[in-house]
């Protein structure tokens, strides 16, 4: 049986990779890709804590299902915003979207 620590370290590494992508990418769609990686790392942790805790309590899996639903909603609204911005400003580069800055 794999120890719990392996899953936790893998999830931490995947979260950091996603954080890096969300911070440094210029394209707004690529930023959302990084956010997806972070959400998946969180889900690995939730399911691992269910498996290595009391398996008759389903809290971890229920939380993972709720995270799925929230991720789907986030991607739908986020990509709709990106497409709407692209129509109006003809760009998806995050640095160029600064009309709310001043």
């Amino acid at each position: 049986m794999v120890p719990l620590s392996w899953y936790l370290i893998l999830a931490a590494a995947l979260f950091s990779v996603g954080l890096f992508g969300a911070l440094v990418r210029r394209n707004a769609v690529a930023i959302l890709l990084g956010v997806e990686l972070m959400l998946n790392a969180v889900n690995i942790n939730l399911v691992a804590f269910w498996r290595y805790g009391d398996v008759t309590t389903m809290t971890g899996q229920v939380f993972a299902i709720i995270v799925f639903a929230v991720a789907a909603a986030e991607v739908a609204v986020g990509l709709a915003l990106v497409i709407s911005v692209y129509r109006r400003r003809n760009t998806v580069v995050a640095d160029e979207l600064d009309m709310m800055k001043w």
Binding site: F15, G21, V24, V47, Q61, A80, V93
Partner: protein, 169 residues
């Protein structure tokens, strides 16, 4: 080293490598396809943890819907994918430093926790995880309220996405 640990290590390397390609590839279509392979690796990890329903939902919802939505979005904004412009911003080293610090901090915090190296016991052979999950989601004593709130959230996101992306011309 048992077979399960070897499968875990192969899957973890595959998942992390694909995740790294997602954030570094120049071509966004390729990044979305690398995201699909990362999500597949995570689904294998769920199956390894005996969370069968979550593994299936990962393939159906994440790969079948979210990744395809990403590919659609990349194609609808394709003109902006000039190959000769930089895909990462000037302060990328600060982002890399922050990500490395977050990873080190998480590992440091986890190492001080007493349950860190816990090993699980095998599930009983007649354990019905899917049935228990279904009952937990609709039982008034458990999680029926978050379940219903999630459905309202999905409806709101559906209406909001259609409204925001609708072409008024």
């Amino acid at each position: 080293m048992t077979g399960e640990q070897i499968i875990f290590l192969i899957t973890a390397g595959f998942t992390l490598g694909s995740g790294f390609m997602v954030v570094t590839t120049r071509n966004l279509v390729h990044a979305a396809l690398w995201l699909v392979s990362t999500l597949f690796g995570v689904a294998v990890l769920y199956a390894l943890m005996n969370a069968n329903f979550i593994a299936v939902v990962q393939v159906v919802v994440y790969i079948g819907a979210i990744a395809i939505l990403f590919i659609f979005a990349v194609m609808l904004t394709r003109k902006d994918l000039r190959e000769n412009t930089p895909q990462i911003n000037k302060n990328w080293w600060a982002g890399a430093l922050l990500a490395a610090l977050v990873f080190a901090g998480l590992v440091f915090l986890l190492q001080g926790w007493s349950g860190f190296s816990k090993t699980g016991s095998a599930l009983p052979s007649d354990f019905d995880a899917v049935g228990m999950l279904g009952e937990a989601l609709v039982s008034p004593n458990a999680y029926v309220l978050p379940f219903e709130v999630a459905s309202v959230l999905l409806l709101a996101a559906l209406v909001g996405a259609v409204y925001v992306a609708f072409n008024k011309k």
